[in-house]
């Protein structure tokens, strides 16, 4: 009996019941009233704009289908993102369609915000402004980093109304870098670091693969510098007390005691000078009092390691030393960065890999000390009207010691332009929701010479108005002037923007818009010299208050930044790569310290500093320094749509900012993220974390493999092919046209999870929430596995992106009773949703565990359903699904090549969503039948291997071994040699 007969018999049995049948309701189709020539229904239109999820300012292209933005991709022409985008950028559409977005303006009535009309809201605002006009500096304006037209307009507006100078609030302002550059180079700026040109990168805590300055750009640069290519690969050394994602990508991760970074940097400099390896020996004075032996003792970094680091760094032509994270935040911050500057100067890197000129926009952030002064003024009742731009949430992102919420409560009238409810709008009297940046006009310059242009990529989802428009209208009313006259004559912000750009672009406005802005390549960098007087640098460790306890490391996370992206459910469900935890924050404690304190994984611990206390579940890690506890910044549940459905009730928000002091670091004036010791105590409660990867020990399975640099070089030059196809008992497949395949370079993958989020966006992958994820029911088609080798306390990590391997001899196919899993003519494992009856046999038989089952009808809370990709079926309960290699993109690519251009698909025509967004270009897709294609070359490269090769599944996905640098080779766990 075949499948069809089975269904026929089943159908006959109940034929009588069929009379009722299922009739669909009538459906309407609505034509456009006036056709839009740019938009063809069913064909995507792309709009260039600038990502404003963080100050990095990556260029993006928004894919608009039928008037709705459904996906973002990096703008390949933009010098910052160069086509890539991080997970936060990919998830920006979830901010656009966020269910919690304010439906319109709100006014406080008692304890609650109540909807109000725009006219009334603007009238109230204008009246209040009229009241403070000319009454001294009682108007304060706070915005995120806006250095383009909106910033200029805000300054003009504030000045016209007689307010205090505008405050640009960015919790991560890198002020110590600016302070050190003032001291060393006489420049108050954050330069461009040419990571891609360095042979050796020596980082002191700079998490440049996560949040530091411009993570996508620097990840691209890191890939160029570090990934093995043509027998060459750079070296990366990272100094940090905690094994962060960036640290785990280092060839050598040096674990130091928290707060000793300045001493370590100075010791490296001293050893470099002593070794005579440095080009310039003028800096002896600066390190005169440094004793490397003592530093080794204090920091816990062996002297030998310090010597090796100094030697490696000095030998680099050129090298690059950078600082960030807790290394340049705290009382030792400026000293650390000065030491880093001297390292660069001594090695002759300034002007080569450290380039002043294309300076970062971060250099224009208002110093934290100014912010603190404003908060004091608010607390003292000196401010009558406080205007908060969108993107700022001071009640959440500033140190708890500042008591910002209390200060804001003292302000009689607080206006917020935030689009989403947050801790600060909860204190606002008037909320005038700004349009999302995907709905807005604007411009932003992430670095000197690069001017990105923002344009609306769709109509506003909610009844929001652009901040610039509101300010112009309200400002005029308050000043009693008319459009065309006075200090604010512009009709709209769009008009203001165009006027500002007119001298630059002249009649090329449309070209600038479609390109996404203007930029000049290779701007000449001014010569920068070390100031003649190099003073002795203080190598003292960072001062921590709080007496006994563990040093608190509050670090910005790649998913939350300062907390502004925490309301994106894709990011909540994307695991943190190092801990593989979803839907939660945690306190990372060293395993040994925890056992002394009697803390188990998942125990809720109370962290208490002199400034506040938070409760968090403990995550035990063998890698973090025993004297430290690390907490990611910015995680919060509330406010989050339908949060009770996705996380358990009563899950409190837990931001380590609450534990930090108000005082600015005395030398740099920046906030001190490394400045307190916290006591860690069990509360008795338990909150087991939802951890998606049970072990990081791959035992002897060799899922992620590595090869040492010397061997890789020898084989690359010799062209040795390592793997051979296994014999199969099944008949061979014949591919008439194409055979699709992918290659993943494990040496390039940094584990940033951007691909995972891009896959969610492209393929309508639902989110399941915390409880379901803890059961292992997450649906994401792609996951990044972290595999650790070597010593537990000092492991070498390999990141293995794992998705459907599209095996030629696929275990899933023969076990499907309804032929829903089958082999396509082009070498893919097809999954036909409308055939699938949900037996889950295929998932059970898959050795890669990449098939995902829909245990429920997962919902897309309105209006998130607007984001769904119309080219991909939304799966329902009882359906098995998995990676399709973006079959919809393959179909579209073939359609374009065959029908529009009458040719075969060429290499590079089709990019999968994960490949497209990858900052390090670790993923390649293409036709394996074409021997000249990039994917074929990689599949036949000496480093190529297949995961679980020995079971003979013959995957279409090839992995390339990680290349471990000479001398830093992971120790094989069992003494067994690597292939």
């Amino acid at each position: 009996m075949n499948r069809r007969d089975f269904f026929k018999i089943v159908a006959t049995t109940g034929a009588t019941a069929a009379a009722a049948g299922c009739q669909q309701a009538t459906e309407q189709i609505l034509p456009l009233v006036v056709p839009n020539e740019q938009l063809v229904p069913g064909v995507a239109a792309w709009f260039a704009t600038v990502c404003r999820e963080c100050p990095a300012g990556c260029g993006v292209l928004a894919r608009n289908r039928e008037g709705r933005v459904v996906k973002l991709e990096g703008n390949p022409d933009h010098p910052v993102s160069q086509g890539a985008l991080c997970g936060r950028g990919q998830a920006a559409v979830q901010g656009l369609y966020h269910p919690d977005r304010f439906p319109g303006p709100q006014r406080r009535e008692g304890d609650a915000l109540k909807p109000v009309s725009w006219d009334d809201a603007l009238k109230t605002f204008a009246e209040k402004l009229g009241g403070v006009k000319g009454k001294g500096k009682t108007l304060a304006v706070v915005s995120q980093l806006e250095n383009g037209s909106l910033g200029a307009l805000l300054d003009r507006w504030t000045q016209a109304l007689g307010g205090r100078p505008r405050v640009t609030l960015e919790p991560f302002g890198y002020e110590a870098i600016r302070a050190a550059n003032r001291a060393t180079f006489g420049r108050d700026a954050i330069p461009y670091y040419a990571i891609h040109d360095a042979e050796v990168v020596l980082s002191f805590g700079a998490d440049f693969l996560e949040t530091w300055l411009s993570n996508v750009h620097y990840a691209r640069g890191f890939a160029r510098m570090h990934t093995f290519r043509d027998g060459k690969a750079g070296t990366f050394i990272h100094v940090e007390p905690r094994q962060s994602l960036t640290a785990s990508n280092a060839d050598e991760w040096v674990r130091n005691a928290p707060g000793t970074e300045a001493a370590v940097a100075l010791a490296v400099l001293k050893l470099m000078l002593e070794g005579g390896q440095a080009a310039d020996r003028r800096f002896g004075d600066a390190v005169a009092s440094v004793d490397p032996r003592k530093v080794a003792e204090e920091s816990g970094v062996p002297l030998e390691t310090l010597q090796n680091v100094a030697k490696t760094f000095a030998a680099a032509k050129p090298g690059l030393a950078i600082g960030g994270g807790v290394a340049v935040s705290g009382s030792h911050a400026t000293a650390t960065q000065i030491a880093i500057n001297l390292l660069n100067a001594a090695a002759g890197n300034v002007g080569k890999t450290v380039r002043f000129g294309p300076d970062s926009a971060y250099g224009k952030v208002t110093p934290y000390a100014e912010v603190a002064r404003l908060v004091q003024a608010m607390a003292a009742g000196e401010i009558e009207v406080l205007v908060l731009g969108s993107g700022v949430n001071p009640a959440f992102t500033l140190p708890g010691g500042l008591k910002v919420a209390d200060a804001i409560r003292k302000v009689p009238f607080v206006v917020s332009f935030a689009g989403l409810p947050d801790e600060t709008t909860a204190l606002a009297h008037l909320v005038l929701p700004d349009t999302h940046w995907l709905e807005s006009w604007g411009d932003y310059s992430p670095m000197e010479g690069v001017n990105g242009l923002l344009q609306p990529t769709m109509k506003p989802v909610r009844d929001a108005r652009q901040m610039g428009d509101v300010l112009l209208a309200v400002g005029r009313t308050a000043l009693g002037t008319e459009a065309g006259k006075g200090p604010l004559p512009w009709e709209s912000f769009q008009q203001y923007l165009k006027a500002a750009w007119e001298p630059v672009v002249k009649d090329k406005w449309s070209e600038a818009l479609s390109q996404g802005g203007t930029w000049r390549e290779g701007a000449a960098a001014p010569a920068v010299a070390v100031s003649p007087r190099v003073e002795r640098v203080d190598a003292a460790a960072a001062k921590l208050d709080g007496g006994e306890g563990l040093a608190l490391i509050a670090y910005p996370s790649i998913r939350w930044y300062d907390g502004r992206t925490a309301s994106r459910s894709w990011l909540q469900e994307t695991p943190d790569t190092m801990t593989q935890t979803v839907w939660d924050a945690w306190a990372e404690i060293n395993t040994e310290t925890a056992s002394k304190l009697g803390i188990r994984q998942g125990d809720v611990v109370k962290l208490t500093s002199p400034h506040g206390a938070i409760d968090l579940p403990a995550y035990l890690s063998p890698t973090i320094h025993p004297g430290a506890v690390a907490v990611p910044i910015g995680h919060h549940y509330a406010p989050y749509h339908l949060r009770l459905k996705y996380v358990p009730a009563g899950s409190a928000s837990a931001n380590p900012m609450a534990l930090l002091p108000a005082a600015a670091d005395a030398v740099s004036g920046g906030p001190a993220f490394l400045s307190v010791k916290v006591s860690v105590a069990r509360t008795g409660a338990r909150r087991p974390l939802a951890v998606l990867q049970a072990t990081h020990d791959q035992d002897e399975r060799e899922l992620a493999r590595h090869v040492d640099l010397a061997t890789a070089r020898k084989e690359a030059l010799g062209g040795k092919k390592l793997h051979e196809a296994h014999l199969s008992m099944y008949s061979e497949h014949e591919y008439k046209g194409y055979r699709w395949g992918m290659a993943v370079d494990v040496d390039a993958c940094i584990g940033c999870q951007a691909c995972v989020v891009a896959c969610h966006a492209e393929n309508n992958v639902p989110i399941v929430g915390r409880a379901e994820a803890a059961y292992g029911r997450q649906v994401s088609w792609l996951r990044i596995e972290r595999w650790a080798e070597g010593l537990a306390a000092q492991p070498h990590n390999m990141f293995l992106p794992m998705f459907c391997q599209h095996c030629e001899v696929a275990p899933c196919e023969p076990v499907c009773p309804v032929f829903a899993a089958y082999h396509t003519e082009e070498g893919l494992n097809g999954q036909v949703y409308n055939r699938c009856v949900g037996t889950r046999y295929c998932g059970n038989n898959c050795p890669y565990h990449v098939r995902r089952f829909n245990w429920w009808n997962y919902e897309f809370p309105s209006p998130l359903e607007i984001q769904l990709n119309p080219d991909v079926t939304v799966r329902q309960l009882g359906i098995m699904e998995k990676c399709t290699m973006c079959i919809q993109r393959i179909v579209a690519g073939k359609d374009h090549a065959h029908r529009d251009e009458k040719r075969a698909v060429r290499d590079g025509d089709i990019q999968t969503a994960c490949q497209q967004t990858c900052p390090t270009k670790a993923i390649t897709f293409g036709n394996l039948k074409d021997e000249a294609s990039a994917v074929s070359k990689l599949a036949n490269a000496p480093r190529a291997y297949h995961v679980l090769d020995e079971i003979g599944t013959r995957p279409s996905v090839t992995y390339l071994k990680k290349v471990v640098r000479g001398g830093h080779e992971p120790e094989p766990r069992t003494g067994k040699g690597q292939a």
């Binding site: 018999i9 049948g21 009233v33």
Partner: protein, 195 residues
């Protein structure tokens, strides 16, 4: 009841339950009735009397997944003058005046898990009538599409009736036929349409 009887009843009950599931699932495309449209639009007048090409109004068929409907503005392009006094045209003018779309009732629909691109078929010179029937003769578009019970029953008793329009069997039959008779390369891979 005997043990076997209980077993039989259970089997029958199970089969009925399975039937309900399968029937609900397989009958997703609607069997369209003659449509009731907000404006009585006669295709026959436009195509036969005025010789207007299908793609003049359904202009996206050659470049998009969707064939597209004419915008209200396009209708008014002619009807500002032509037959402006007729009651049906006055309805059109009313929509145009209010700047509102005309809420046409959908007649043809493939299930939502099916990707059907008009572009590929138009570029392959498939006549519109091949799938949509003799629309040029219709005053009101009607179509019988999707799986029907009668068809299933005939299949069961051994007859092999042609599958009704817009069912998968019907699509695949045409693709197979074209590949054999006209040496075309119409895809037969499931994932071409189901993804």
């Amino acid at each position: 009841m005997t043990k076997a009887g209980v077993g039989l009843a259970a089997v029958v009950l199970l089969a009925v339950l399975i039937f309900f599931a399968v029937s609900a699932w397989s009958r997703q495309p609607a069997i369209a009735k003659p449509s009731v449209q907000p404006i009585n639009f006669p295709h026959n007048v436009h195509v036969q009397s005025y010789k207007i090409d299908c793609q003049y109004c359904h202009a996206d068929a050659r470049r998009s997944e969707y064939a597209g409907l004419p915008s209200v503005e396009r209708c008014m392009g002619c009807h500002k003058i032509v037959a402006a006094d007729k009651p049906e045209i006055k309805k059109l003018a009313e929509y145009a005046g209010k700047q509102e779309p005309i809420p046409w009732t959908r007649v043809f629909k493939v299930p939502e898990f099916t990707y059907f691109p008009h572009k590929a078929h138009v570029r392959a010179s498939v006549a519109c009538q091949t799938c949509h029937g003799p629309v040029e003769t219709m005053t009101t578009v009607a179509a019988t599409t999707g799986p029907s019970l009668a068809n299933d029953m005939l299949n069961l008793v051994g007859f092999k009736p042609a599958p009704p329009a817009l069912t998968m069997g019907w699509c695949v039959e045409c693709h197979r036929r074209e590949n054999v008779t006209n040496k075309r390369q119409a895809p037969l891979d499931c994932v071409t349409c189901h993804h």
